[in-house]
């Protein structure tokens, strides 16, 4: 009973902190600010996924966190590669 309550409370805390870190994504003045916000928010979301996997005690839920970690890294890598090329062009 208290364990479920603690899991719910920590889940709400992680959602709230990811929404707070979304501020930098939405109103960040420059594009590197937005990328940094995306990275921070994805770390918080990953923590939520692992927390739910520990709460439900299912291995399938951990696979979601693993796949998101790999493909989120690939996506951020593509974004930074594009940013590097645009910066080198002198824009």
């Amino acid at each position: 009973m208290t364990t479920t309550l603690a899991f719910d409370l920590i889940g709400y805390l992680f959602v709230a902190s990811s929404v707070v870190s979304l501020y930098r994504v939405l109103w960040g003045p420059t594009i590197p600010d937005r990328l940094l916000g995306l990275n921070v928010a994805s770390a918080q979301i990953l923590a939520i996924l692992v927390l739910y996997a520990a709460k439900e005690k299912l291995h399938v839920y951990l696979d979601v966190a693993l796949v998101y970690d790999i493909f989120g890294f690939v996506g951020i890598l593509a974004l930074t590669k594009f940013l590097e090329k645009r910066h080198r062009k002198g824009e």
Binding site: L22, V25, L26, Y61, F71, A78
Partner: protein, 76 residues
């Protein structure tokens, strides 16, 4: 939990459609797919969340950034 996630979805979708810079729109779409993966996960559909995380965060972001790189940077 679901209400907060749906509110974030609404704000992000309106911003993705209305923002001028296409690169920023791609970043916002990446974070939209991230939150929708969490929404599917919270609604006890881990297989849908797995597909959304793989396609939305990785392949879709890569594809969109490739297209933006080859065409225009801003909305006219």
């Amino acid at each position: 939990m679901i209400e907060i996630l749906l509110l974030v979805h609404l704000i992000l979708a309106i911003l993705v459609l209305s923002i001028r810079s296409l690169f920023t729109a791609v970043i916002l779409m990446a974070i939209f797919s991230l939150f929708s993966a969490v929404l599917f996960f919270v609604l006890h559909a881990p297989d849908v969340a797995l597909t959304e995380a793989a396609v939305g965060a990785g392949v879709s972001t890569f594809l969109y950034i490739w297209i933006v790189k080859r065409t225009q940077k801003e909305v006219k």
